[in-house]
Amino acid sequence: TQTVSQSDAHVTVFEGDSVELRCNYSYGGSIYLSWYIQHHGHGLQFLLKYYSGNPVVQGVNGFEAEFSKSDSSFHLRKASVHWSDSAVYFCAVSAGNSNNRIFFGDGTQLVVKP
């Protein structure tokens, strides 16, 4: 079974700061990794994904994530955050034999202060 861990439940930064949201996974085989964003009162929205190739993947709104097999990680980063980036961010993993299931982390609440 795949598992995903987001070590930080809450992260607070100021507008214009850079931010890194951490995600670690455990699974021995080929794995699909993704990030989702959830604004308050809304459903989750897909942000970006990785399966193979360049370990740094770009998403919308300046977000990027970097895959590291050695660290079993897929951290999300943004160079300069905006107040509208305040949301809950979920890391997710899936494997080819997971019967089309995604396993979500518990989420990281990002608060961007003006």
Binding site: Y32, L33, S34, G41, H42, G43, L44, Q45, F46, K49, Y51, F90, A92, S94, A95, G96, S98, N99, N100, R101, I102, F104, G105, D106, G107
Partner: protein
């Protein structure tokens, strides 16, 4: 246009009553999912479906049934609602071998009194 819609958006039910939550998707995805989201538990999978006529149990299926009468529609049924089922419920649709990209509805807030 929203590709995954849910109804109702808010529902208050009484203990022991029957509740049906509906989901419709226009993505033409084969896979659909029902999750509940509670503080401290993140997203938990209740039921999912590979296509019309199929339903599969997720991680917390007890107390819930699911129905997939068509490609577009996927319902979650609480035959005998209990206060512990008070939660926010999300429907999602997805495609792909690992189901790794899912599209979520806006959620239904259910309160069972």
């Amino acid at each position: 246009e929203a590709a995954v819609t849910q109804s109702p958006r808010n529902k208050v039910a009484v203990t022991g009553g029957k509740v049906t939550l509906s989901c419709n998707q226009t993505n033409n995805h084969n896979n659909m999912y029902w999750y509940r989201q509670d503080t401290g538990h993140g997203l938990r999978l209740i039921h999912y479906s590979y296509g019309a006529g199929s339903t599969e149990k997720g991680d917390i299926p007890d107390g819930y049934k699911a129905s997939r009468p068509s490609q577009e529609n996927f319902s979650l049924i609480l035959e005998l609602a209990t206060p512990s089922q008070t939660s926010v419920y999300f429907c999602a649709s997805g495609e792909g071998g690992g189901g790794w990209e899912q599209y979520f509805g806006p959620g239904t807030r259910l309160t069972v009194l």
